[in-house]
Assembly symmetry: C4
Homo-oligomer: 367 residues x 4
């Protein structure tokens, strides 16, 4: 069957992946209401198309933190790609490169940073959690710089892991065929230990990630690397202002795809307040619930400079390895260009705030 | 079974038409959410009826761009009528004439402009897409004028064709029994070539329609014809103002029935801002999701001077040829007159803004 | 099974009544969206209860146009009660009397005005449609006055009959066992003639009711009777002001239970604008979608002085004749008293605007 | 199966409890729309999480009316615990103590106040209804003081019992194995008498509870006890102001879990107006529809100082006696601490109004 939309990839991926892996990928925290809310926010964004604009060429090229890209659609950091495809992150990097898209590698990648870099033809960023063992972070940062990674993305929404009930019911642990190979095996051991009624990943997170980090600690990270520092997981104007004042080079508005704080504001609806608070001081990006190039268009209209895809990239990877990832990303970029054409905004800079409004009559006016 | 409402025609038509033709007629772009939103907007319009008004006679007669008509309900341009009935547009013209309704013939009509004109007893307009081959447009314009067509309708929402997933899954192409006979067969060839996972119409559109046309180009069209020029597919106040300043003689607020930009604003909710922006400088009309004379009443109250029907006319045609078209249009006009009586507005000019409001309490107040 | 709520009566009635009679009672016009909207409006009214009020006695007694009553819940005029119970309106009158409730007899009652009056122990009003044959109206008015009816209710929302598709599909006509006995058999003949695809009642209405009546004609009616004149079917502030200026003695805000203009504003949401426009000049009452004493409480809080029940009374009648009507009305009044107790408003005059608000958070604030 | 969320407890409890007991516990008044609305209000509260806050320790300890507690989650008063577990309130007290949570004992407890106190390791409050027999109240008050209860909670939303249709259909009465042992058997007799189509509890309430009590009567209660007086069942700013002026020591915003006035405002949405009206003069607490620690977080953010659980505690009790109650309370407190961590508010005092907003875009902005 042809893969004509994200939903097609989702269906094909679910057929290929074991049930508990699917639950790990698909699930969210607690009642999963933020997962749902992320989607609903996009469902309410309506596009105001302009007519009689020359859209022969719709240019999706962009530059983010100095890297030029063929598309503002980017790969969000997701752990353990070998869970869904034997080649893991190496295939993801190849696919992202083929699609000319930015790829943010997870700290819990199941291939080495160096192997991933070797297979990549486009820019890579490295995502970090703040580990209790700071030396391990330093090692990673140094390896990333050496391997040509272009930015560090610190994910700040996980002082502890969200209560992902599906994983807890499954007693989920990472199997022996897949590991976070960029960290010491000892440090990762508990992620592989099954236990009834609990998620090994939650246990591991509690042991490993430092929940006491504060804004002041960012200076320590800054001193250890010249790479630009991106903060992922900001959802309020208050924190956006702090991010700017503490020198963040960019912000990713994110609720971790509804996998951390159940009930967190949908990322699309948090985007405007963050964009307004940042007031141009640094780029603002977003992820969470993007399921088409049209969704990406809405996020761009609300002020995002790039739009990350989490689960969908894993669907592509599960379906077809590197080709699947490239296929999904190309589909998304194609849909974006298509939306730009039909919306009469052939350049990313033309997708301004007037390009979307929120559902009217019986629901709600624009903010 | 009696045909008492639009839904009855829809059901009867679906029984008569092959599945992939039905999908072509019924479908929309991508997730089809604008198809749904068009309907939902009407569902929220509430009518404020006036009492003790003499409604013995409810007059639906009107005049648009100089043509007098028995009803403000009009036939929207839709391609390839022979897909649903062997007599195609000739039957549609007869039906529209019998119902004293305006008929806008599609550039992709499957009967000649001249045959259609010969069978018509009411006014005809000709709808155009801006073809890369401008000579073909000139030929059509000249033939239309010669055959007595009274206006040109330039559809501006299709720089490329919407991603109609149903057609793509069906590998839809126009069969050999039906063709856009008013254009060169060579120009139309690709519309008939089936290909797995794609719509031949999308391929054909990409080859044939010029996506680089801008407001400035309208002057070229103007010079080639004395007929009034209507722009179809305007959805914003910004473009409405441009349309007026570039001399459009009328505007049709439309999102192409949700078949082009998925996520586009519902046409009914775009209507007020267009009406306000135009400020009486030219007539404003609307289409998209109208499924009863009561829906038409709501659109008229928001400022439309005529209300077009797309799919419903094809249902009438499929069900009963000319008689089916007339039946559907008469039903709609009858429902409109009925609504006018029960709303205490026996003339079209009495259907003012105070005649509708939008759902209150728990949803939304009037704009 | 015990009859503990309106829904219990509805279920029991549906079991007892033939399908096409049920459709006649239950149905509405066209898509029946106003039927649904009437209910939804009540579903969104939230009660703000007051505590520590002496509610030992909750007094539902009231007076309307000079008649004292045990309850503000009243019987709305509905035609042809013998369709659901052999004793027809005589039983209804007995039931209403037993419940100490006002009963408005329909012009199309299937028992004589005099028989109804003879069986009534409480006040009766007579509802009229404006007939083309004015002499017939005069006769009715005179008979009503002679029989002790206390007010005339002119229903103004039916210049023609709503398109009740269920009746049309059933080819509904009033059977030979039931007739509008207060009018000439000749005048009523067409109401009994079945025809495929149409409602005999709609045909009859078109023949009999005068759609040309205007405010100025009210003077004619006024001259023929000293009884107070109530206008039923007002839904706007504009008409409310006209009603007052033309000397109406009271207003019933009503959309005829969604049986006339499909899409009409829900009566509960029209009530506040009518109450505000009338500004105390005459009593305002309401009907449409009231399905519990709690619903009645909400209507009273928005300014209604009485609340009419249409279909529910017919359910009571179908279920148990006079006892069923009394049972339904007593249930409703009991629920109202119960709501008054729990809301801390033991008198009707204490049910003020602060007693209800409309759903907040995620939907809509109070108007 | 592991008990990972409130819903797990609910399912497990329903399996263990007889159908008519389940209906008694689960049901609400009339249409149960306030039961639903309580939940919907929480579903619309969205959390605005703060990042880079030290959440190593999330402190849920609090103090209410002088009692120190491990959690702001408390046990709401619910009658007849032996209906769901043979040990009844003694087990509940043990469970609450184990979870370091406040327990408000119902006047209709099925174990003696003294036995409950003997098994409790944490603070107890005693809930009262205002009995027609005031001597019985005095006796209870004196016994409570002697047994070390720390506050009196007067429930003010039950001048009569809500029409709980499930109980009425079941002809529900309290069985012989369970009784309100703190009151005279004679006084309680009617609560045990089954009758078709009615709830024995409603009959009993009508006989026993005084619906004529007013604010002025509070002085009588005050004179009989030195314990702090809490008013439970306030839902408006008006009554909140009266409560303060009549010297209430605290308020519990509550609609009795939707079991009293059907249609009452959801308690979460009434909370802000009460908090604003009280303006710090006394603590404000809330109950109704809380089904997770995340829900409690939202209530705390809107100004509640404690959050009570009604039905969920009975689920815990049914599932596992004291251990089940402790399990449910610990789960809730754990979820609360978890939410505090992920929301970046590690102390209860840090959960301020900015921590929640209400659903935006297409529904409603914050109040
Ligand atoms: C299976 C999976 C693993 C993830 N692992 C990480 C991770 O290691 N680091 C991180 O910052 N975010 C991680 N995320 C969150 C994503 O980066 C992203 O925020 C989220 O998936 C976006 O929402 P979406 O899946 O709806 O596109 C993960 C998400 C998923 C689905
Ligand atoms: C089968 C089909 C073919 C159409 N072909 C054309 C066309 O050739 N030119 C055009 O301007 N619009 C075309 N439209 C759009 C209609 O003119 C109109 O905008 C739309 O159908 C209105 O929405 P409705 O179908 O909900 O009434 C077509 C629509 C349908 C359903
Ligand atoms: C079967 C039926 C017959 C009715 N007949 C009349 C009538 O003869 N005159 C009239 O003014 N209204 C008539 N009505 C409308 C009622 O008076 C009332 O406006 C409506 O039923 C109120 O809505 P409810 O049914 O939801 O309570 C009728 C309604 C029904 C259901
Ligand atoms: C089975 C049951 C018995 C109750 N008994 C009492 C009671 O005796 N006294 C009282 O003040 N409230 C009583 N309540 C109401 C609770 O105190 C509380 O207000 C309500 O349950 C909160 O809603 P929730 O169940 O959604 O948490 C009872 C509730 C239930 C479910």
């Amino acid at each position: 069957a042809p893969l004509l939309c994200f939903e097609d990839y989702r269906g094909a991926a679910q057929e290929r992946v074991a049930a508990e892996i699917w639950d790990f990928v698909d699930g969210g925290a607690d009642t999963e209401r933020t997962v749902t809310a992320n989607r609903r926010a996009f469902a309410r964004a309506e596009i105001r198309p302009r007519a009689l604009v020359d859209t022969e060429v719709c240019d999706t090229r962009t530059a983010i933190l100095g890297s030029t890209l063929g598309t503002p659609l980017a790969v969000a950091p997701t752990a353990y790609h070998r869970l869904v495809h034997p080649e893991g992150e190496v295939a993801t990097a190849q696919g992202a490169g083929a699609a000319d898209a930015l790829y943010t590698v997870s700290i819990f990648a199941s291939r080495t940073l160096e192997d991933i870099a070797a297979s990549a033809s486009g820019p890579l960023w490295l995502q970090l959690y703040w580990l209790r063992q700071r030396e391990a972070m330093v090692t990673l940062i140094d390896r990333a710089a050496a391997a040509g990674y272009r930015a560090l993305v610190l994910t700040v929404d996980i002082p502890r892991m969200g209560r992902r009930l599906r994983d807890m019911r499954n007693g989920f642990a990472v199997g022996p065929d897949c590991a976070a190979v960029n960290l010491d095996a000892a440090l990762m051991a508990s992620a592989h230990l099954r236990g009834a009624g609990k998620s090994a990943l939650a246990v591991h997170t509690a042991q490993t990630i430092d929940p006491s980090v504060t804004w002041a600690d960012l200076a320590w990270l800054r001193e250890r690397s010249d790479l630009p520092l991106v903060l992922k997981g900001i959802l309020t104007a208050e924190d956006a202002r702090l991010a700017v004042s503490y020198g963040a080079d960019a912000i990713i508005v994110s609720n971790h795809g509804g996998r951390q704080l159940d009930g967190a504001v949908p990322s699309l609806t948090a985007l405007p307040e963050v964009v307004a608070a940042v007031a141009g001081a640094c780029p603002v990006m977003v992820d969470g619930g993007v399921r088409s190039g049209g969704d990406a268009f809405a996020a761009l209209a609300l002020g995002a400079q790039a739009v990350f895809l989490g689960r969908p990239v894993l669907w592509g990877l599960a379906v077809g390895g590197a080709a699947g990832v490239a296929g999904l990303l190309d589909l998304a970029t194609g849909e974006l260009a298509h939306t730009m054409a039909l919306a009469g905004r052939p350049g990313l800079d033309l997708i301004d705030r007037s390009a979307v409004r929120f559902e009217q009559y019986g629901e709600r006016m624009e903010p």
